[in-house]
């Protein structure tokens, strides 16, 4: 009963109903099983998957990887680290993920990650030790779970021509009623809530208290009507700042650096209360399907070439001490950086790990505030 027979039968108008239904069944089964074959075929030359923040999914960071493996790694992007963790807890397996220091201990406690074998990373000797020696990482237990990659600040990028400063640069700028509807904010509580804490004058040591929640929530509620849009997409903020739709927005270093390179008159503020500072890095999933290529990703990210790009084009600090060699102190200061990360990190308010309960409560409260409650 081959296809030609059936066609002949159709032409002669003699195709039996049974033959027809059999054909239908066959095509149904074929349709249902097609994806299986395709997936197996593709598995052969698979690249490692890198799960990261929006903006890090660019070829410039993976030159070394590309040279070695011929292609870029696969990217998957998240907007908030809590969202990323939830997704992986739901069964999403990646090779390498990109948390920050505040989330790292909670990520480790899920048991979804494996310690990093530093002997497999050639550049490990050049990694700035203080970035590795963080609470929850090397400092306790002797395991290195997160290989530091980038560090920087969350602060205010503002248009020097549109925003009229009253006195010093300060977090009050994002609460300035004169610019209501022309201010922007990152949507993730992992940034915004902490900045709210700085604005409310809460010491990070006392973040987990009823009083802190009340005060920060009040500050965030006060800010909400002034905000044009909360977004996890830094490009949206950058476009709005460049068109003048926004006069100031909460951003990371990269937005200010990118806008400056476009010739837009912006400045990355150094608020008098201090900026929010953080270190982010990469972790390897315990079931990473391409473990060798996972190490290739890390190697590529720690390379000096990647570091130069991070500093020069994105304005972030890099974890490889050698990356700073090409930049003089003045350039670095202009970017809000220094060859000694501690100078910057301790000058601002350094994010710290919090409990899961706190994280959940914070996100819940902040989401309700954003929705207008």
């Amino acid at each position: 009963m081959d296809v030609v027979d059936q066609l002949g039968a159709v032409r002669e108008g003699k195709l039996s109903r049974r033959a027809f239904t059999k054909g239908l069944l066959a095509s149904g089964v074929a349709m249902a099983t097609v994806p299986m074959g395709a997936r197996q075929a593709r598995a052969a030359g698979e690249q490692a998957t890198y799960f990261t923040w929006g903006g890090y999914d660019i070829p410039e960071l993976f030159q070394a990887y590309q040279e070695k493996n011929g292609e870029l790694p696969n990217f998957s992007v998240f907007g908030a680290s809590e969202e990323a963790l939830t997704k992986m807890r739901g069964g999403f397996v990646v090779d390498v993920a990109h948390p920050c220091n505040a989330g790292m201990p909670r990520w480790v406690s899920t048991g979804l990650f494996q310690p990093i074998d530093t002997s497999r990373i050639a550049a490990f000797g050049d990694v700035i030790p203080s970035l590795v020696d963080l609470p929850g990482n090397d400092a306790e237990g002797g395991n290195i779970w997160m290989m530091p990659f980038d560090w920087g600040q969350t602060s205010i990028t503002y248009r020097t021509d549109l925003f009229e400063l009253e006195g010093e640069e300060s977090w009050d700028m994002l609460w300035d009623k004169r610019y209501g509807g022309r201010l922007g904010s990152l949507a993730s509580g992992g940034d915004a809530w902490w900045c709210g804490a700085i604005k409310a004058g809460i010491d990070f040591e006392n973040l987990d208290s009823e009083d802190a929640f009340t005060k920060i929530a009040a500050v965030m509620r006060e800010q909400r009507p002034l905000i044009r849009v909360y977004t996890d997409d830094t490009t949206t903020l950058e476009q709005a700042l460049s068109s003048g739709e926004m006069a100031a927005a909460m951003t990371w270093n990269s937005s200010a650096t990118l806008l400056k390179s476009e010739g837009i008159p912006v400045k990355f503020a150094d608020p008098k209360e201090g900026a929010l500072t953080w270190v982010c890095g990469v972790m390897i999933h315990k079931d990473a399907p391409n473990i060798d290529r996972a190490y290739d990703i890390i190697e590529s990210m720690l390379s000096v070439e990647t570091g130069k790009f991070m500093i020069n084009d994105y304005g972030y600090g890099h974890s490889n001490a050698k990356s700073f060699a090409e930049f003089d102190a003045e350039t670095l200061a202009g970017l809000g950086l220094s060859t000694n990360p501690d100078d910057i990190l301790s000058a601002g308010h350094f994010q710290r790990p919090m409990t899961q309960d706190w994280e959940t409560r914070m996100n819940e409260t902040f989401e309700q505030i954003k929705a207008g409650f």
Binding site: M1, V4, D5, Q6, G8, A9, E12, K14, L15, S16, A19, T21, L24, L25, G28, V29, M31, A32, A80, E82, E83, T86, K87, R89, T110, G181, S188, G189, R224, I227, R228, V229, Y230, A240, S243, G244, E245, Q356, D357, E359, T360, N363, E364, E367, Q368, K370, A371, G372, F373
Partner: protein, 311 residues
């Protein structure tokens, strides 16, 4: 009994096989079994893709969050919360308002288009239909972004009005507002309104219209007494096709809504994402489903009554 006239030998063979195989015999006798077998790929996908997840959703909505995991004691606590805390009700109300306005707007805009093609186009109707659905050949996300470009601060509308000197500063209410969400939804779902309305308008017997004219009805009365009631099934179908999916829409309010344009779909996403409260997300999904069903039933009832009255 021959399968085809081309290979009688093979046909004989298969006839023999039927005699010997009990399964084939069973299949031959029972029509129901043949039917189920035919449907089996669909039933399988439906079971795995819809029925099982639905029961998981119902079960999960009765659990509560417990740190990273779930407390699996069954409780109605989540449902109580959706009732007590004002945020859920307000978001539901806003979602129904936004998608309700979008539905009405879509129907009002699309009805004349469907009407025109059904009554006044006589050649190449298919081409007209295809032309009207042409925008829907691009992805939904792309259309949403297109609206972002049109409505944006430096967008088409604002820069057009500015260059004409109609406005001094860009209109800010265009983007990141409920207006933006309504406009985008109304455009994005237009094809789903045009097609069912076209079909029901097309089916209307033209002699009824002639009869109405002969009996003294003017164009307006004729439309209200003949065309509108007879095209009601299309309008109802279109309303459902738009209202139900837009109420839970996620990406449009996320990209264009701004702080005041967030809808229930965004909040459900947050429960499964950063807020990390899956049971609450499941509860909200089910509450949304129940509300939509209730509204749909009321809508059906009202239109039925209205139709009876007109007829």
């Amino acid at each position: 009994m021959a399968d085809t006239s081309l290979s009688p030998a093979e046909a004989r063979q298969s006839a023999e096989r039927i005699k010997t195989s009990w399964f084939s015999a069973l299949l031959y006798r029972s029509e129901a079994l043949r039917g189920y077998l035919l449907m089996s790929p669909t039933i399988l996908i439906l079971t795995i893709g819809i029925i099982i997840p639905f029961f998981i959703l119902v079960a999960m909505s009765l659990w509560t969050r417990d740190g990273f995991g779930f407390d699996t004691t069954l409780t109605m606590a989540n449902y109580a919360r959706t009732w007590e805390e004002p945020i859920f009700g307000a978001l539901l109300q806003r979602s129904f308002w936004i998608s309700g306005v979008a539905t009405v707007a879509t129907i009002l805009v699309c009805y004349p288009m469907a009407y025109y093609v059904a009554f006044h186009v006589h050649k190449n109707k298919m081409m007209w239909i295809i032309l009207m659905t042409l925008p829907f050949w691009t992805s939904y996300l792309l259309r949403v972004f297109a609206w972002k470009v049109i409505l944006g601060y430096e967008g088409v509308i604002n820069s057009g009005f500015m260059s004409l000197g109609l406005i001094e500063a860009p209109l800010e209410f265009l983007l990141y507002s409920q207006t933006a969400v309504i406009i985008t939804l109304a455009h994005a779902w237009a094809a789903f309104a045009i097609l069912p309305m076209y079909v029901s308008l097309e089916k209307i017997d033209k002699s009824l219209l002639e009869a109405a004219t002969d009996l003294g009805d003017g164009p307006v009365a004729r439309f209200l007494r003949i065309t509108l009631p007879l095209s009601m099934p299309g309008i109802i179908a279109a309303s459902f096709l738009i209202f139900i999916p837009t109420t839970g829409d996620y990406i449009t309010p996320a990209l264009l809504g701004g702080p005041d344009g967030a809808m229930i779909g965004n909040f459900i996403q947050l429960q499964f994402g950063p807020v990390n409260n899956w049971p609450m997300g499941a509860t909200l999904s089910i509450v949304l489903m129940l509300w939509i069903s209730a509204i749909a039933l009321v809508f059906l009832f009202v239109t039925k009554k209205a139709q009876d009255k007109i007829a």
